[in-house]
């Protein structure tokens, strides 16, 4: 039966890896290279590109042409990029504040309960993100779940206008990626030796010091991993800014989609994607460095 397989180990190795290389190489790696090339070409007004070299897409990030054809600084796109970082950072912090105590609480539970809690946290993660974000429209919207009882009790007389704000986007992002924060923190807390906490307490550390000087430093790898797992998808998010921000409060992800679907400026969309990609690479390099430092500290 196995006669058709290559005899050498190397031959088999490449036979096994060839399908993965083929699919991901052709349909992901090469497309990303083409995208990089496209960002340096001139746009075709009907979508697509013209085959001529142009840095216009990158210039457009910072400048625009005024009525007299002079290049002037345009902060519009920079503001959107800045807002994306701000909102992603805010959502990451919210996830951390909200998620860390829960991960810690789960670690204190007996094992069968722990597994059940983890199951409860993963369930929303496996259900459709679009649907879960849509639910927030019903909660935050005009006459929605939050406003209706407030009207009835006479606390408010007009809409709180919670939808289409940065706050709504931040809530949506926090909600979307919260499980990605809790799970890695839990994974590193699970390995925590609770005798260390007692030792710290015996050496007159108070509760606050036990937490900040023993627990948090020991689960730092989990916290960093959680923050990165939340930050990266937030940066490229499309659903939350579009549904909860109403498409007016743009973030990078929705700006990219807009360039392809409506504005038909493909090179600019490709340039924005390149920017997003380089931000991710910077974050991942930072992560690899901190992981290596942690490993070295562990050996020492």
């Amino acid at each position: 039966m196995s006669g058709w397989l290559p005899k050498s180990a190397a031959g088999r190795r490449w036979l096994g890896l060839a399908p993965s290389y083929f699919i991901i190489g052709i349909f992901m790696l090469i497309p990303m290279i083409i995208m990089a090339v496209f960002s340096l070409l001139a746009p075709n007004p009907y979508g697509g590109v013209e085959p001529e070299f142009s840095t216009a897409a990158y210039v457009k990030l910072f400048f625009e042409y005024d009525l007299e054809d002079n290049l002037v600084f345009n902060p519009g796109y920079i503001n959107i990029i800045f807002r994306s970082f701000q909102l992603s950072f805010g959502a990451t912090i919210l996830c951390l504040i909200f998620g860390f105590p829960v991960a810690y609480y789960i670690t204190l539970q007996p094992e069968h309960k722990r597994n059940f809690y983890i199951y409860l946290i993963t369930i929303p993660f496996w259900t459709n993100l679009l649907i879960r974000t849509f639910a927030w429209i019903i909660i935050l919207g005009r006459g929605g779940v939050i406003e209706t009882p407030l009207y009835a009790l006479g606390i408010i007389e007009e809409s709180l206008r919670m939808m289409y704000t940065d706050g709504a986007i931040a809530i949506g992002l926090t909600y979307s990626y919260l499980p990605l924060m809790v799970l890695p923190i839990y994974a590193s807390l699970e390995k925590l030796d609770f005798r260390l906490l007692e030792a710290a307490s015996d050496l007159y550390a108070n509760r606050w010091e036990v937490m900040t000087k023993v627990v948090i430093p020991l689960c730092k790898p989990g916290i960093i991993a959680g923050c990165i797992l939340v930050f990266i998808p937030c940066l490229g998010a499309f659903i939350a800014p579009n549904l909860l921000g109403g498409g007016k409060k743009l973030m990078l992800g929705s700006l990219v989609q807009f360039q392809f679907a409506s504005a038909r400026n493909w090179p600019f969309g490709a340039a924005l994607s390149m920017l997003l990609l380089s931000a991710v690479v910077v974050v991942l390099i930072f992560y690899a460095r901190s992981a290596r430092k942690q490993a070295e500290a562990g050996q020492a």
């Binding site: 290389y21 697509g48 199951y119 946290i121 679009l130 006459g143 007692e198 989609q257 994607s273």
Partner: protein, 279 residues
């Protein structure tokens, strides 16, 4: 450990042992309310008899009836199922052979690169993948409708299928395979009757993850799918843009319950196999 913790607590004259903090339980309750409130609200409003989602007009099932009779929804559901089925089969097969090499092939040159390539779709933001694939299909003028969508889905499902299979392979004891070889089983027989049955839970987990991820994908499909190859999430998005009716809630509730049922089934199965293995 608990005895010494109690000791510590009497020493500090506080009710809570070391490492326990006040309010953690309450915080966790709030956390789970936050996590599940949207899901509960969504399901609740799907039974709204009114035309407007947010104005409660009494209990009614008519939006479920309407959703089931909607031809566009039916077509979108079929497209989603076709895409997810093909993507799962291909991605799981590709990931299985890849994982066998990377977990069992020893160390070789290019191993780290291979691992990086297979997990690449996990690291690149979805919107970037979507744009890259859109540009690529356009550049080679590949317009095969659903096939385009299936190809894109296979690509990003591979790492999701790969991870549980590799984890299973790395946790597996190789002594059973060695025993089979010692008892004159051929290489193929060892693989077919020893390795594969042991690996099956990993493959099932990988396939399930791929299926759920493919069914849920929105942004990549939105960019890649042309007219006629709309999947359910893309159709739901267009419904939301047209105006909020409880019909959306009805469709979403059904999709939600299917996902929850799948994940729960997987959780129960993996729990029983774990307990059995433990005894």
């Amino acid at each position: 450990m608990s005895a010494s913790m109690q000791q510590a607590s009497t020493k500090s004259k506080k009710a809570l042992p070391v490492g326990h903090y006040r309010g953690l339980g309450a915080w966790t309750v709030i956390f789970f309310i936050f996590l599940y409130l949207p899901i509960v609200v969504l399901i609740f409003y799907s039974f709204n008899a009114n035309r407007m989602v947010m104005n409660w007009g009494g209990f009614g099932l008519e939006w479920y009836v309407k959703a089931f009779q909607n031809d566009d929804i039916q077509k979108a559901v079929w497209n989603s199922l076709i895409v997810a089925t093909f993507a799962t089969i291909f991605a799981t097969a590709i990931a299985t052979v890849g994982a066998l090499v990377l977990a069992r092939g020893g160390s070789f040159r290019g191993k780290t690169v291979s691992l990086g390539l297979i997990t690449l779709p996990l690291m690149v933001p979805e919107i970037v993948t979507a744009v890259a694939v859109l540009i690529f299909f356009n550049a080679i003028s590949l317009k095969l409708g659903l096939v385009n969508v299936i190809i894109a889905h296979i690509t990003f499902c591979i790492p999701f299928a790969f991870m549980p299979i590799r984890a299973r392979l790395e946790g597996m004891d190789t002594s059973l395979e060695q025993a089979a070889r010692d008892l004159y089983a051929s290489e193929w027989e060892t693989f077919r009757y020893v390795t594969m049955p042991l690996l099956m839970p990993g493959i099932a987990a990988g396939a399930m993850l791929s299926f759920v991820i493919s069914m849920d994908d929105f942004i990549i499909t939105l960019m890649v799918a042309g007219a006629g190859s709309t999947t359910l999430p893309v159709y739901i998005y267009s419904m939301i843009r047209r105006g909020l009716t409880p019909e959306i809630n009805a469709v979403c509730t059904v999709l939600l319950l299917v996902s929850i049922a799948l994940v729960t089934a997987y959780w129960l199965v993996s729990r029983t196999t774990q307990t059995r293995a433990a005894h």
